[in-house]
C-alpha cells in the first residue's frame, strides 16, 4: 500500500516501501536496519540523527524520506573497509566519546564541515557544530576536528 521509494544509501541503491512522509531517520533505522543515525529529539534540534545527503549535513529526523534527492551517507558509510575516516581516527585519538550516543551525528557534522571548510578556525567550528552533547565533550570535539583537518590537509 506504500509507494516504492528509490534511495542510495552508502553507495547501495535500493527501494523501500514506506510512507513518503516518514522521516528518513526512521526509514533508515526501522526499515533498512541502519542504526548509526540516532534518535534524539525529532525536531532537528539536537543533531544525533545527522547524515550526509550529497555531502551536506542533514538532520534525518526532520527530512521526509520521499523528498530525499541525492546520495545518503550514514556513519556506516564513511570508512574505507577497515580504515576509519580521518575524523573517526581523530575521535579515537582524542578519546572524544563518553556515552557516545550523539557522536555519530557529531562525526557526520564534522565530516561535512571539513569538506566545505578544510581549515576551520575555532569560531568556524563553533558556528558549524550545533549538535548537542549532554556529556559536554565539546572541548575534545573541537580538538579532534582541528586534528582531522591537519590530517586531511596533509
Amino acid at each position: 500500500m506504500y509507494p516504492k521509494i528509490p534511495l542510495t544509501v552508502n553507495g547501495q541503491k535500493q527501494e523501500i516501501e514506506a510512507d513518503p512522509e516518514m522521516p528518513l531517520l526512521w526509514a533508515l533505522r526501522d526499515i533498512m536496519d541502519i542504526k548509526g543515525p540516532k534518535f534524539g529529539c525529532g525536531i532537528a534540534a539536537c543533531g544525533a540523527c545527522t547524515v550526509l545527503i550529497d555531502g551536506e549535513a542533514v538532520r534525518s529526523c526532520s527530512q521526509p524520506v520521499g523528498e530525499v534527492e541525492g546520495e545518503i551517507t550514514t556513519i556506516e558509510g564513511i570508512s574505507q573497509g577497515d580504515e576509519l575516516h580521518a575524523v573517526q581516527q581523530a575521535w579515537m585519538k582524542h578519546s572524544v566519546p563518553q556515552c557516545g550516543y550523539c557522536q555519530s551525528g557529531q562525526i557526520m557534522a564534522a565530516v561535512a564541515l571539513l569538506e566545505e571548510n578544510p581549515d576551520p578556525t575555532d569560531e568556524d567550528i563553533s558556528d558549524a557544530m550545533t549538535n548537542l552533547c549532554r556529556c559536554g565533550t565539546y572541548p575534545k570535539i573541537k580538538a579532534a576536528i582541528k586534528d582531522a583537518a591537519q590530517t586531511l590537509g596533509a
Binding site: 510512507d19 557516545g100 572541548p139
Partner: protein, 760 residues
C-alpha cells in the same frame, strides 16, 4: 561492639568452571544464597558464586564489569583492576557487563548514603556505613550510581585478578615441573625461564580450577602498577566512533514490533477514558494498550515502525483523572515557603550549638540570603526506551539501565513472577545521569510486550514524553543565615533547606514494601557534610511533598546545596570584606580538611586568582566535597552588554587515588558542563498539572559555542577513595554565579541564572 556488616564482604574468593572447561574466578558468598548468574545448573547446596574473570581454553579472557557503561568509562577502569593483577594488557581482554544478579551488589553506593560526612571516621559513622552495606546486599542492588563503582570494585576486582594469577602460576609450576620463582607472566602467557617454553593462561585453565585459591591476598603495590594510575584507551571506543549498535535503541530482534507510550502527566494521575479511533486509523498502527503500573498510568501504542507509533500516540484522545492538589509551580513554591516556616523535619551534622545562638545574631553582623533551584530533567541524549519479549515462563528485557536488579524486582512484582524469571540484558547507555536508575521505561515495555507476545516490542519514548515524564531533580529553597564578626570570621552558620525527599519519592515506586527509615540525607547533601571550621553550624531539612516524581540527578542533593552553600560562602566573604579564597581557607584549618585547602590553593594558582582582570570580567571560586572527591573550581566570565560569556574553567579534584587520569578528567569536564548547563536556562515548571517544557527547544543544554575552555588537574591527598562521575557538577554553578557577582556586583540567588542575566 563488633563491626556490623564486615562479614558481608568477607565472602571468600573461589574458583569455578567457565564455559568449555575454562577457569572462572570470583567471590563465593557464604551468607545468603544468591543464584550463580553464570551457571545455568543451580546444583543443590552449591555455594553462590559471582565470577569477575573467566579464562577459556582458547585463552579468551573475559572480565565481567557489572556496572552500566554510560560514558563514565567504568568498563575500562573495572577491567583495568583485574588486568593489573592478572598481568594482561587491556587490549587482550573482552569486557562484558554480565547478567543481572544480586551477587554483583554495589555496597559502596549505599555506604555513602548514610547521614555522616565522608570524613567522619567515628565509630557511629563506620557502623552506619557497614549497615548500609548490608542493605545493599539485602536488596541485591546491582546498581550504578553515586559515583561509587570504582570504590566498590577497587579491592574485590583486584583480588579476583590476583586469585586467577595465583592459581595459574601454581598450575604452570606443575606443568613445567618447576617452582613458581622460575616462571614469568606476560600478556596472558606463562614462561619457564629455564626452558624458554610458554603456556597460555587458557591452556592452564582446566588445571588451575583444581588448585586451592589463595588464603592471603598479596595485591601489587601502587608503585608497581603498570595499567592502573595511567590513562587507558576506552574498551568501547571504536564502537562509539563507528555508529556501533551498542545502545538499547539499537536492539534488533526477529519479528520485532515498535511502540511508544503516552503516560499520565505524573504518578497519581489515572487513566479515566480514551478514544483510540484516530490512532488505529494511522497506517502502521496495530494496537493501543492500557498501562496501569506502580510508576504511572497511560497508554501504549504498537506499530510496525516507531514513527507510526509516535503519530498514533499524538492522535490519542485521553481524559485523565487528576486528584492532585498542586497543579502549578507557584503552588509548589508556596508549599516550600510554608515548609520553611514549620519546625524542621530533621537535622544532620552541625555543631550541636544551642538554638538560641542561631536566633540571636546581631543585625550588624548578620548575613542572610535565600536561594532557589527549580526542578530539572535529566535529558539524556538517548530518550528512554526498552525492548521486551514474553514467552511462557520468562520476560526478557533489553535496556540501558543503571539498575537491572530493580527492573527484575519491579517487573516480576507487576506480573507476579519470580524475579529470576526476568532476564535483563544491559546495553550501553546513551547517558544516565541517574535517570536510568528508574524502572518505568522497562516496566512499560514489559507491559506492552505482554500483548505482542511472542513477538518482541521496542518501546521508544518521544523526546517530549521523556522531558515531561522524568523523575526530576527536586526544586528547593535554601534559607541561609550567618554571623560575621568584626574581624571577618564566620562565627555562626544556619542552613535551612526546604525540599521534597528523593528517597520518599523513589521508594514507593521501586520498593513498595519497604518504608524508608530515618532522615533522607540527600535533602542536605552538600550542606551538612562540607568541610568547614565554624564555631556554630546548624543544618536542618524541611521536607514537603510536592506531588512530583523526583529522583537522582547527577550529584543529587549536592547539585542543590552546593549552589546554596558556596554562594553563601561568597556572600559571607563579601560581608567580611575578605577575598573569597582567603575567606574559605581561613575556615578550613582542621587537619582533616587539608584536601580542600590544597585543592583551593592549587586551583587558585592555575587560574591566576587575585591577578587583575579587565573591566567586565570576573572570577568566581567554589569548593564542594561530594562522593568522596574534593573538588575546587574557578570560573571566569566576561560580561559585555549585560551578556555573560563563560570564558574559562579551572578545576582541581582530589579523589585520593586516581585509577585512570584520562577518564577521571573526562568525567570532571563532563560534570562541569552538566552543572553549567543548568545555569544557562534549564528549569521544569508546572502549569495546570503538566510540565511546560517538552523538547530541546524549551529545555536545552550547553552547546559548543557556549562551552568554556576547561583545565583540570588531579591531586591525591585525600585518605579515602572518591568517585568521578558526579563531583565535577556541584561547584560549577556557584562558581559561575560568584564570577558574575565579581564581574558585575549582581548577586543572582536562583537557578537558572539566565532568568536574571543573558548568556551568549
Amino acid at each position: 561492639m563488633s563491626r556490623l556488616g564486615k562479614y558481608t564482604r568477607r565472602a571468600f574468593l573461589g574458583l569455578g568452571v567457565a564455559a568449555a572447561g575454562g577457569l572462572a574466578v570470583g567471590f563465593y558468598f557464604y551468607q545468603k544464597p544468591y543464584a550463580n548468574p553464570l551457571d545455568a545448573k543451580k546444583a543443590e547446596g552449591e555455594t553462590p558464586f559471582n565470577p569477575y574473570v573467566m579464562i577459556d581454553e582458547d585463552n579468551t579472557i573475559t572480565i565481567i564489569a557489572p556496572r552500566a557503561e554510560m560514558g563514565q568509562g567504568v568498563h575500562t577502569t573495572l577491567a583495568a583492576l583485574v588486568a593489573e593483577e592478572l598481568e594482561v594488557p587491556l587490549e587482550q581482554v573482552v569486557v562484558e557487563h554480565g547478567p543481572s544478579s544480586p551477587a554483583y551488589f554495589n555496597a559502596a553506593m549505599l555506604e555513602e548514603s548514610t547521614p555522616f560526612p565522608f570524613y567522619d571516621e567515628s565509630v557511629l559513622a563506620e557502623l552506619a556505613r557497614g549497615s548500609m552495606k548490608i542493605v545493599a546486599k539485602f536488596l541485591g542492588l546491582n546498581m550504578t550510581g553515586g559515583s561509587s563503582s570504582t570504590t566498590d570494585a577497587f579491592v574485590k576486582m583486584r583480588e579476583a585478578g590476583y586469585a586467577a594469577k595465583f592459581v595459574l602460576l601454581k598450575a604452570a609450576a606443575e606443568h613445567f615441573g618447576t617452582s613458581e620463582d622460575n616462571l614469568t607472566l606476560a600478556d596472558g602467557t606463562i614462561t619457564d625461564k629455564a626452558s624458554g617454553k610458554s603456556v597460555t593462561y587458557g591452556e592452564l585453565a582446566s588445571k588451575a580450577v583444581a588448585v586451592s585459591p589463595p588464603s592471603e591476598m598479596k595485591l601489587k603495590k601502587a608503585s608497581d602498577w603498570k595499567i592502573l594510575g595511567k590513562s587507558q584507551k576506552r574498551v568501547e571506543l571504536k564502537d562509539k566512533v563507528t555508529g556501533g549498535r551498542i545502545f538499547s535503541i539499537d536492539v534488533q530482534l526477529p519479528n520485532i514490533l515498535y511502540g511508544t507510550v503516552k503516560m499520565a502527566p505524573r504518578k497519581g494521575v489515572s487513566l479515566k477514558s480514551y478514544d483510540k479511533t484516530a490512532t488505529l486509523a494511522i497506517p502502521g498502527v496495530k494496537d493501543v494498550v492500557e498501562i496501569r503500573t506502580i510508576t504511572g498510568e497511560g497508554l501504549g501504542v504498537v506499530a510496525d515502525n516507531t514513527w507510526a507509533a509516535f503519530k498514533g500516540a499524538e492522535a490519542l484522545q485521553i481524559e485523565w483523572d487528576d486528584p492532585l492538589s498542586l497543579q502549578n509551580s507557584d503552588q509548589m513554591w508556596s508549599a516550600l515557603e510554608s515548609a520553611l516556616t514549620q519546625e524542621a523535619t530533621f537535622e544532620l551534622g552541625g555543631t550541636g550549638s544551642d538554638a538560641e545562638v542561631f536566633t540571636s545574631i546581631p543585625e550588624s553582623e548578620a548575613v542572610s540570603a535565600q536561594y532557589r533551584v527549580p526542578f530539572l530533567a535529566h535529558a539524556t541524549m538517548e530518550p528512554m526506551n526498552a525492548t521486551a519479549q514474553h514467552d511462557e515462563s520468562t520476560i526478557r528485557v533489553w535496556t540501558g539501565t543503571q539498575a537491572p536488579g530493580l527492573i527484575q524486582s519491579v517487573v516480576s512484582s507487576h506480573f507476579d513472577m519470580d524475579s529470576a524469571d526476568i532476564d535483563v540484558t544491559t546495553t550501553c547507555l546513551g547517558g544516565g545521569f541517574g535517570r536510568r536508575l528508574e524502572v518505568d521505561f522497562a516496566l512499560y515495555a514489559a507491559v506492552i510486550a505482554k500483548t505482542t507476545a511472542p513477538n518482541p516490542v521496542k518501546v521508544t519514548w518521544t523526546r517530549e514524553e521523556d522531558t515531561q515524564h522524568d523523575t526530576y531533580r527536586p526544586m528547593a529553597i535554601g534559607q541561609f543565615k550567618g554571623q560575621v564578626t568584626p574581624d571577618g570570621t564566620l562565627k555562626t552558620m544556619d542552613m535551612q533547606v526546604a525540599s521534597p525527599s528523593i528517597i520518599q519519592s523513589v521508594m514507593p515506586r521501586i520498593f513498595p514494601g519497604i518504608s524508608p527509615a530515618g532522615p533522607d540525607n540527600t535533602v542536605l547533601d552538600g550542606a551538612f557534610n562540607q568541610p568547614l571550621d565554624v564555631e556554630n553550624i546548624r543544618c536542618q531539612a524541611h521536607v514537603a511533598d510536592l506531588q512530583v516524581p523526583i529522583g537522582f540527578w547527577r550529584s543529587v542533593g549536592n547539585s542543590v546545596n552546593g549552589f546554596f552553600h558556596e554562594s553563601f560562602m561568597d556572600e559571607a566573604a563579601h560581608k567580611a570584606g575578605k577575598d573569597p579564597l582567603e575567606f574559605r581557607l581561613a575556615h578550613l584549618t582542621s587537619d582533616e580538611f587539608r584536601p580542600a585547602r590544597e585543592a583551593l590553593k592549587h586551583v587558585a594558582e592555575m587560574s591566576g586568582w587575585g591577578t587583575p582582570l579587565p573591566a567586565g570580567k570576573g572570577r568566581g571560586i567554589a569548593h564542594v566535597l561530594s562522593f568522596g572527591t574534593w573538588t575546587a573550581q574557578v570560573v571566569q566570565v566576561d560580561v559585555t552588554d549585560n551578556t555573560v560569556t563563560i570564558e574559562e574553567v579551572w578545576a582541581v579534584a582530589d579523589p585520593g587515588i586516581v585509577l585512570d587520569p584520562g577518564i577521571f578528567k573526562d568525567q570532571i569536564m563532563s560534570g562541569i558542563n552538566f552543572g553549567l548547563s543548568q545555569a544557562l536556562g534549564q528549569e521544569i515548571t508546572w502549569v495546570d498539572g503538566e510540565v511546560e517544557q517538552a523538547n530541546f527547544d524549551t529545555f536545552d543544554a550547553m552547546r559548543m559555542y557556549q562551552a568554556p575552555k576547561i583545565t583540570i588537574e588531579l591531586l591525591e591527598n585525600s585518605p579515602r577513595m572518591g568517585g568521578a562521575g558526579e563531583p565535577g557538577t556541584p561547584p560549577s554553578a556557584p562558581a559561575l554565579a560568584n564570577a558574575i557577582f565579581a564581574a558585575t556586583g549582581k548577586r543572582i540567588r536562583q537557578m537558572p541564572l539566565s532568568n536574571e542575566i543573558d548568556f551568549i
